[in-house]
Symmetry: D2
Subunit: 291 residues, 4 copies
């Protein structure tokens, strides 16, 4: 679904290809020559893998190629020639995001506060949960809330129902906001690199359940949170953002949980924002996160 | 060996015992009643384990119990009654520290700069290495440098020779400053909780060799360094201090190593300083690090 | 107004006095001898000013002195003798907090999310604003919202009306959550060290209006936020908490504002939490913030 | 003076000009077409000032334009046409750095340790001081050490003598490493944007003398250090790098100084490294610091 945010529309090109001389030139020429005004350009060359990555954003106001033909032209002119993988996005099309929650509200509130304040160019039409607890939060913000309790017996069936609902709502990507169920490989397959999770540790330390307890046991002096795209390997997908906070011997597990919550919500929101802004490229289980 | 730093001498008591009402009172009374002037007091109660930890430091100038009898008196009056484990230190006795190095100089230089500037109340009479590379550094600072090359065949023998040398130099504790050999269980047994190592990752992530390469592979957005007491479990001993620095997709492994070195030397020096100041208590593979 | 949070009630004593031997002992004895169970003790001696600060919290379940008499007994026995300044609080009495806002919602949402989740032992019955914009936020959380538009002519009158309302709601302390009006000296006089403000810079840098613009002009590489008690000197009151985030030449003023908002809400919420937990002592325009 | 570091030589172009379409293309084309291999490219557009900044580094091995003619060709072809300000550097020419010190050694040691370890592509042939204290440090590293005591009467004369010496040693830039004298406007005029200073506060807070004492008075919860190019306004020149560390009520001024020293040396060394790597562009009293 599209919603116009302002008069002018921007195009965003996210691409990668084998590194060769002249790529920046051909892409910027393509834009300039056709009347586009470049608003943003960031590039990176991985000199080990010899891969070139770029994100370029331009104003389409005077761009002579019609929106619906840009992808085709670009692919024909350069895409195949340079063996490029690319995605093209337009600012007048807002991504549609669903949030999965269980019982903890802190990440959910942080995202809904930003959404309500108009900080994010996104639509959040749907919240899914395996518990009824956060229905009142969804209600405060007038967002549809659907409950799918999960157990060993009904998991496959419930995930299928969730997928149907996500499709009905035209969801582009999913955010697991301290959602306590592990999503299946099949589910993930429907949203590759489009499910963002927050794990309450500094990955790869303390994967799996109860990382705060594990951190407490180990006697670490810092705790962390990590947001990443979900893959079939638990807590092993491409990392988008991480941060830490200092703790000491004075902190009980309860303190770690409490301090950790501030981290979790900030780290998750930063990752979601980068995704919404089309500033993340995934390559070989790692991310290039543009500025 | 003792060296008098200033006219007045302080006593430092580091203790722990089962938590009971009145411990702070009895210890502070003991000091006050006998003419001591308390300069520092920090305490912590682990309410899960019901253990009480305390560090108290006092000026002995007008203290009526002679230095050499304090331990005895204290143990008789309170030690046994409260089931205390404690250590008593005096500021006019400087700990003697040996540094083990391999080829990297950054941690060594950082410690020697502080030592030379008089920042640390310590003696550093000996540097041991498995390579000759850093002999010139030792020479710049007029510190004895002994080389013990290590391989599978000679390791037991070399460690025995090192232990003999350490004893000859009256070494109290050892700092492994990016020393690349793994010390044996027997060696560790001679210096329990008295060997400080710097590991170039945020433990427990990336234990063992090449943590920067592993961090690079995983695509983390932060790298860390950890200083800890060495135990027989590799990189699993009680953590003293940790810190991190931010990295991005732009950082090659070489960048990680470079940025990591600043972390390593600061984290190691902070840990060594806390050890010298008698501000670390080890309990169940974790540390209480007093302010 | 009181609201019982759990079965047992704790007492919190926050005190300072001229440093002398034996204070910790007399206070802990007072608690122990009368059947109290110490849950928390932290103390600090300012050796320049020779002032002793302490916060001690104990379980009153078996405490033999009735709640309403503790202050009196304590003062008679020790307060005068040691020349103590102290405050006594009980955990079954929740402080009542009013929030002042203008148009920005991020700090308000952060605090209300924590409040709703039961994180804070506080009552928030009232939100005051000089604009109508955030009325819907208050409504989402069922909190009374009163609008007092301020201009040069009506300021004195409006502040008087606000004070009347605050008194009617039994407000104990006030949080200015990016409230854009400067409160008068008279107003402050009604709530000494009981008005917490968030200033969007790292004080004392960039006091007053538009600190992000000033930071941008100066070309700093870090921006900060500071929470402090409001005094009659603008942005000069005792600092409670500060934090920073890194910026670069790539950040426009708009980016600084955006990044700054995450800082502001976290820094303000940390300060408010410490205040609610009775963990702040103000002394000579500085704060002792207990752990 | 030149010293060859490795077989291949790189060229580094640092430039800025009014923003226009096509600049990246013309510069990269210039390099590619003439056989250069681009190793590094980073650019930034200041959309408020409409200024384009770029740093590009390329391998000259197969570059067809002789080193000594590149500047001329580039200027003729593009420099004037695009109204560019640019500097061209070659990796086989190491900048020559002088360090000014007074009595504190921590920054000096940090830089000399990196220098000795071969981390920096620089020559450090000269240390100047207004005191004799650090002569032994210079001696340890075999660097010439010249003493110029400064007072009101001799300052002009001494600065003139220093400038003569700096010229004799062919010094390209100067680092003030906790040098306690204020350098004159005339002196600065000889090395515009080529004198790096470390100020022991988070500028613009606490300019001038005794910032730690001022920070202590204000009761801040963080202290900082700032490295910047020296201009005629004291502590007001373009900032290169800043960082902070956390403090609390427990920290005396002496603690602040001690914790601050770790900051100072790291912040100064980072700035010096960026300067050596030709990664800093100064524009309107601010810096663009390339990655």
């Amino acid at each position: 679904m599209s919603k116009q945010k302002n008069m002018s529309t921007n195009a965003v090109l996210l691409m990668h290809c084998p590194d060769q001389p002249g790529i920046i030139a051909v892409v910027t020429d393509f834009i300039n020559v056709n009347g586009g005004n470049i608003l943003y350009l960031d590039q990176h060359v991985d000199r080990e893998e010899h891969v070139f990555f770029m994100r370029v954003e331009w104003d389409l106001t005077h761009f002579s190629i019609p929106k619906e033909k840009i992808e085709d032209y670009f692919n024909t002119l350069y895409g195949q020639k340079y063996n490029m993988s690319f995605n093209l996005y337009f600012s007048d099309t807002m991504p549609r995001m669903a949030i999965f929650v269980s019982k903890m509200s802190h990440c959910l509130y942080d995202m809904l506060a930003r959404y309500t304040a108009g900080e994010w160019n996104v639509e959040i039409p749907l919240i899914i949960s395996n518990h009824p607890d956060l229905a009142t939060v969804a209600e405060r913000f007038n967002i549809d809330y659907h409950i799918f309790p999960i157990n060993k017996e009904n998991k496959v069936e419930q995930e299928a129902a969730e997928l149907t609902l996500l499709e009905k709502y035209n969801i582009d990507f999913i955010v697991l906001a301290r959602y306590m169920q592990v999503v299946s490989a099949d589910f993930i397959g429907h949203y590759p690199n489009r499910i963002i999770n927050i794990h309450h540790s500094f990955l790869p330390a303390f994967v799996g359940a109860k990382p705060y307890h594990a951190a407490f046991e180990r006697g670490v002096k810092l705790i962390g949170a990590t947001s990443h795209y979900v893959t079939t390997d638990l807590d092993a997908g491409p990392i988008i953002e991480q941060d830490i906070t200092r703790i000491s011997h004075k902190d009980t597990v309860s303190n770690l949980v409490h301090k950790g919550q501030d981290l979790e919500k900030i780290v998750l929101s930063r990752a979601v924002e980068k995704h919404i802004e089309r500033k993340i490229l995934v390559y070989k289980n790692k991310t290039v996160v543009f500025n």
